[in-house]
Amino acid sequence: MNTTNIIVAGLGGQGVLKVTDILAEVLFRAGYDVKKSEVHGMSQRGGSVSSEVRFGENVASPMVPAGECDLLAVLDISQLEVVLGNVRKDGAVVTPDDVPTDKLAHPKALNTMILGAMAAKLPQVKDEALWIEVVGEAFPEKLRDLNIEMFKVGFASQQR
């Protein structure tokens, strides 16, 4: 089985790494080999942040090879042009324009809404309960229900 490549990009503070942490954990529990890559430190001070997840039967490099991204999500539209060059011709792209941001219960929850939309584009994990379980575990109790709700809204927005 080939490796599937995901990139999530945004700006420091938007929760990019939270999205790929959840993605990687879901894919791991679904039985895939997973690698996740990111960069910390100075580059995170309000600047561009991107994180990558690769999954399949046996993943080697933790970094998505240039031009081989199957699913790209950006949390800030300004970052689209920075990372778009990494996407395959037939790759999928999710931006804030693709989700009902008017339904955001809190501006900081955009990341979980986008994650929901991404989940709908990952037929490799059909188990919605698994997604919700891992999203729930990723947040402290007072933010849990809100983020699960936003995930569901994002997921539903991609069902046609």
Partner: protein, 527 residues
């Protein structure tokens, strides 16, 4: 226990240290190494932030000399600070186990240079392991402690950003063992490096390295991937993973212990393939060692010495492609956070047309517009002393514009020595030092330090060292504490006044980091 999990390389090193019964983890925060000690603490290990890497390594040496096990963590440039003890403990060795983690940053995601610390293993004569993923981070940490026991040798565990921070599936295979009880056996012939003892110790070290090489030749730390006889690749660290994607058909030789290299095993491998290429990130360290041994291997083109490798670049290396690489689309550069207390300090330095000798931390971003208020930045602690040097050579009018700017954690790291130099050898115009005190080690993730009054776990109280009392004790004449955000005009006035005088002055710009403040409230509530 369910021991198959997804974890970063740094987390796996912490787990291995815990499972090896490490008595003490010590270090100084630095991307990409910072998470190791936090995680070791979270697991229940005893972890401490030292004021700098030299102190951390020396404490680690003491623990190991007393029969315990210690792990000492730092970023690549931190090992420069700790290099002095490293070179001599390599001679004397330790009774217990000492593993030094050097986390390198090729590509400089968050560093001032991309030095390749594999050079230190050769220069100091210490064995080195280079993991390629999380599993090997765990396995090689355990192997390093085993090797340390057998040879009484400090061991270097050399990581890079992608190995530290990438999460991979791995198996935590060992059960935790209890830390050893320390014991002291007098052996000053082995442990006191006066020349007569050190001469013997150096010979013993070289003999030990030879024995380690013989052992490494047997292949316990080597992975060979069988493949085409047309192309053989020798790869270490993260480069190995890129090679698997870039050239799935190739035969690969991956040494896990990369100093001393298993040169004879590599000689046989190289002879078994038609073309043999060394793919390594950074300097041509393995390539040089293999060429010295007379093995016909190919180096990567010079252009790939710079920055990180990735799958595309490894494909280009193997294709001998030296055409210009496509320039990445520039992203948004990092900047001082909105509400950051450093902002008002740098606005004043800009408005007063100061020549700013800066230092290493978030505040290095003072170099960016709209501040453009940093003129030189070299290494941790250099701001004060570089400022002193500038003042000694510049004409008076310019000398009076020179200000040294340093953060609180950096002050404790190696800025204190600069104050000593300033008071001992003051420039004719005096000098002005500003400590940007946001009460945390912000850049690397809000770690505690000797001035915060809390231990590594953010909760346990510690003696809070005072910058102002220390400076007064050293002999700085004028010491002021000011919140440059709340009292911006007064700050500018004060700065003008101090710049005009011939005294040595210290201004502490004190206001907590807004991110750290929010976090400390969470810690206080036990979240």
């Amino acid at each position: 226990m369910s021991d198959r999990m997804l974890a970063s390389g740094n987390e796996a090193i912490a787990m291995a240290a815990f499972d090896c019964g490490v008595n003490l983890g010590a270090g100084y925060p630095g991307t990409p190494s910072s998470e190791i000690l936090d995680e070791f603490n979270r697991l229940g290990g005893r972890a401490e932030w030292a004021p700098n890497e030299k102190c951390a390594l020396e404490v680690g040496i003491g623990v190991a000399e007393g029969g315990g096990r210690s792990i000492v963590t730092m970023k690549h440039v931190g090992l420069n600070v700790a290099a002095d003890p490293l070179f001599t403990i390599a001679y004397s060795g330790t009774a217990g186990g000492l593993v030094i983690v050097s986390a390198d940053d090729p590509g400089m995601a968050s560093s001032q240079n991309e030095q390749d610390n594999r050079r230190y293993a050769y220069a100091a004569g210490v064995p080195m392991f280079e993991p390629t993923d999380t599993q090997e981070c765990y396995d090689y940490t355990i192997a390093a402690f085993e090797l340390a026991d057998r040879f009484r040798s400090p061991v270097l565990l050399r990581l890079t950003t992608r190995v530290c921070h990438s999460k991979c599936v791995f198996v935590r295979s060992h059960a935790a063992t209890a830390p050893r009880t320390g014991s002291y056996t007098k052996d000053s012939g082995a442990n006191v490096m006066v020349p007569a003892n050190a001469r013997k110790a150096h010979r013993r070290l070289r003999a030990d390295l030879h024995a380690m090489q013989q052992e490494n030749e047997k292949g316990a730390y080597t992975l060979e991937v069988a493949g085409s006889k047309e192309l053989g690749v020798i790869a270490s660290g993260i480069a190995f993973q890129h090679v698997r994607d870039a050239a799935p058909e190739a035969s690969i030789f991956k040494p896990g212990m990369t100093h001393p290299l298993p040169v004879e095993a590599i000689r046989s491998f190289a002879a078994s393939v038609k073309r043999c290429v060394v793919v390594e990130e950074g300097d041509p360290v393995m390539y040089e060692a293999l060429r010295v041994a007379g093995i016909a291997v190919e180096n990567k083109p010079e252009m790939y010495r710079f920055g990180e490798l990735n799958v595309a670049r490894v494909r280009r290396i193997l294709a001998g492609d030296v055409s210009p690489e496509p320039a990445p689309v520039p992203g948004k550069p990092p900047q001082l956070c909105p509400g950051c207390p450093h902002r008002k300090s740098f606005e004043a330095l800009r408005d007063l047309n100061c020549i700013v000798a800066g230092d290493i931390g978030c505040y290095t971003l003072g170099v960016m517009p709209p501040f453009s208020a940093m003129d030189i930045s070299v290494c941790m602690g250099a701001s004060i002393t570089v400022g002193v040097g500038l003042r000694k050579v510049l004409p008076e009018a310019d000398a009076r514009r020179v200000v040294s700017v340093i953060g609180d954690s950096t002050f404790w790291h190696s800025g204190v020595n600069g104050l000593v130099e300033l008071v001992y050898n003051p420039p004719a115009t005096g000098h002005v030092v500003i400590v940007l005190d946001n009460s945390t080690t912000a850049m690397t993730g809000m770690q505690e330090h000797p001035g915060t009054g809390r231990k590594l776990d953010h909760v346990t109280p510690a003696t809070r060292l005072s910058i102002e009392k220390t400076a007064a004790g050293i002999g700085i004449k004028n010491i002021d504490i000011i919140d440059t955000t709340a009292e911006n005009e007064r700050f500018k006035e004060l700065l003008r006044e101090r710049l005009a005088s011939n005294d040595c002055s210290l201004i502490i710009a004190r206001r907590p980091c807004i991110i750290a403040l929010a976090k400390s409230k969470q810690y206080a509530k036990g979240e």
